[in-house]
Each structure stands twice: as C-alpha cells, then as structure tokens.
Amino acid sequence: MEKVDCIVVGGGLAGLSAAYGLASAGVEVMVLERGNYAGAKNVTGGRLYTSVLRDVYPELWEEARDDGGPFERPVTRELITLLGDGAATTLELASERFSAPSPQSYTVQRARLDRWLADKVTAKGGLIVCDMKADELLLEGGRVVGVRAGEDEVGADVTVIAEGVLGLLASGAGLREPPRAADQALGFKEVIELPAGTIEERFHLNEGEGAAQLFMGRVTRGMTGGGFLYTNKDSLALGVVVSLEQMRGRGDELESWRLLDEFRELPQVAPLVRGGEVAEYSAHAVAEGGVDKLPRLYGNGYLLAGEAGGLSLNALLTVRGMDFALASGRQAARAVLAARARGDHSAAGLSVYERFLRETFVLRDLEAYRDVPSLIENRRLFDQYPDAVARLLEDLFTVGPDGAPSLLKTGARGARREFLRIDTLRDLWSLRKLW
C-alpha cells in the first residue's frame, strides 16, 4: 500500500486549509477531491468573514485582498428584511468601516475561492488529486490507517476527514452519527447573472462594493430559516435556507423548491433580480445542530474538520461555515504537526486538536451560541414577529381621517397589541441565554 504522511479527504475549505498548513510545514500531504476541481461540489450562501484569514494565514489574506483573487465584492451594506403579510420592514447598516482597506467580509463563490486556495496548497508542495472519491476509511484495530478510493488504497499516519456535511465516510466507519433532519437545514440557491453596473445601481453601491440581505418571515412560510441575497461581481446569489425537520413535517406536501420561486416573486425581491438570467442552481445541507450535536472531533489516526465535524454556526445576524472550515482546518494541521513531533498519532496524541479549537472562535462561538438551535425552533420568530413589526410601523406611518396619529400613544398601543403577550414575553426572556 502506498503511504503518505497525511491524507486529507475533501478539497473544500477545511481540507485545503489543513493541507496548506501541513504542506507549509513540509509534511507530505495528499488531498482527495471527488469533483473535477476544488469547489466543484461546494455551495455557499455567499459570504466569507475575513478575520480568520487575517489571523491564521496573514500572508494569504494580504495576497487575496491585494489581487482580489478569490473574492467577489466586499460587503459594505448589510440589510435585514422582516417579511410580514403585505408589508416588510428593512433594517439597513451601511458602514464605511466595513469597506477598504480591510473589509470584514466578502461575497464569494466556491468554484473560484476553493480553486484559489487549492493553487496555494499546490504551490506549497501539497498534492491535490481531483476526480478521486474516497470510498471508505481503512480501519485497523480501531485506528484509521488510510482510505480506499476505488481500487486504490493509500495509507497515512493521520487522515483529516473534511468530507463535508453528510459525513458519509465517518459515519460509515462509526466515527460519528449520520446527519439527522432535526439538526440540518437545506440551503438552495440560484446564481442570477446581471451586469455589475445594474447591481451597483439597484443596491446603491459604490463601484466594486457589495451588499448582503437576509430575509425572515414569509419566505419560509413560518418555518425556521430565511432567504438570502448576496451581490457577486456580475451576479446575485438568491437562496433559501429552511429547517429540514419542519419542511418534511408540514404534512401539506409543499415542495421545497417552490419556496425559492415564491421568494423571487415577492415585491421586495422581484425588482432586484428583474431581467437577470439564472446561470446555476445548487443545493447543500447545512449543519445547524450547534455545539450540543458535535461529534467527537478526533480519534486514533484521524481528525474531523469543517462541516464533517458539524462546525458551522447560525447566529441569526451572522451565518458562518466557511470561516469555521478554514479555522478548523488550520487547527487540524497544527494538531497533526504536534502529534508528529511526539510520534503519537493516537487519539491521545491528536487530542490537542480540541484544545486548539477551544483557543479559537470555532468552539468558543459555538459555545456562546449554544442555545440558538433551540431558540430558532420557535416559529413565532418567523411568522408572528415579522408581521407584528410591520403592523406597528404601519400604524405610525398612517395618516387617517383624524389626521396624524400621536406617535407615543399609537406606538404604545401597537406595542401592547403586538408584543404584550405571554408567549412574546416568554420569548424575550428566553433571549437572555444569548448573553
């Protein structure tokens, strides 16, 4: 059996990040990627928060920022839209501090971003084998000793399993549970082509800058989830994320794909995408179980990185997976290096991985938002409240036969009507968990 120091299963951001860290340190690393190229099987909503690059791979960050290589647009406008019945409320943040010289997030597309990082791995001496699917983890006495890919078997001291959210290999080998509907959302989107100038006009953007808009409410018909709209250079990413447990449990046979069609037709969305051509349609599962649903992230001869380890976070205003992938891949590389230095690739030798993850935002943020998965199961967030906010504001903006309303009285009356209810107060009280 051929043998390398380290095999990485999956050339997504977690796997490539691990491979970059290892190859940079002179470790012989082989990445197995089942797509035609890195990124061919990956889907993002659209946006990468950049602090991870700045902190763990400053040289990559500078290169990426200066040549713009992997990025679409820096996000300078953040919008949250609450879609009520016949009315919508949008909160907009346009921050000059989010733009150059150090944008805090960029819209991205995976085929471009992942290929860019793959090139960096190759430049450091890492080997990326595309069109190669790992079929099985090879186990020997409870230890992962390599992988089988078709007829070929490759051995390794450590296998970094970065196979993505479904975790077929790891669950097939009993290293984690298969994903459950209760902890998963379905994300799916269209890439809609529009000229750059049209995008900038419609979203009130300076040349080259971008917007990110999240939608809550009607878009998921009251189910946990939402809609998103990101501006790329010459296209928009328009998509929906919805709880799989709630989707399949509806009982009315609503087809998931209809949610996106309905979303595109909304009066708040249709004018933004008008005239655009759909250039690609994609779908992906999203792990949203939070820290309580994480599998054990290391064991004899292996580590789990990225979504294969359930490492992604829905924190309501920010939805993150790619920076978790990059950061966990980086820590996986560190852990492998530490294990190699001690010549111990057992679970004990690799257990530093979890400690490293705790030192970064990966496990810290997941801990901090531990209660989000249970909070967002609350459907009032997605049907009642977006509507209530709109009705309250409608009252304040209405001029009727008796003239303009008293702002204070009308506001107080509306707030009492919409929000002074036992269930609402209980929901507010439950938010304390986020503190």
């Binding site: 089942r34 099987k41 990956n42 298969p178 989707m247």
Partner: protein, 91 residues
Amino acid sequence: MKVDAKLGTDVFKLDTEPHIVVDTEICRTVCVTRPCLYVCPADLFELDDTGKMTVNWEGCLECGTCLICCDDRALTWRYPRGGMGVQYRMS
C-alpha cells in the same frame, strides 16, 4: 422557472450507474409520509403509475436531503464516482 430548466443550467458529468438506489418495497409498504417527494430541491422523486418510487438521479445536486429525511432507510445513497455528478462552476 421550472426546476428542470434550472437544472439545465448546471454542468453534470453523467455516471454510468445510479448513485441513489431506492428500495421500492420499503417505499410501498413501510413509508407513509414520503418526504422525498417534496423535500428534494431538484424535484427528482416520482411515484410512477403503478405506485413505484423512482428517482431521476441524473439531475442530483448531491445535497443529501432525501437521505437525511428518509427514516425508513429506503435509500442506498453514495456520492457519484470521482469526477462524476454535478460540477458547480460558481456557487
């Protein structure tokens, strides 16, 4: 826009064998709710005239939604072989 037309914008490398196989007996006799018929974002599952479950695996986006939602284990679900299946150019 029809889901079919949207899938038509995607690049697929067709595998020679299906990567999703349905145990139609389980669908027929055990499963009551048949979530695969409506959770699949590519709308690939169909009951044919005889009530047999079929899947048009060729247009699969490989999201795994059907697998995650099938509690009756009626699906044998693998990724397509290396180099096969959907190849996203953007996304």
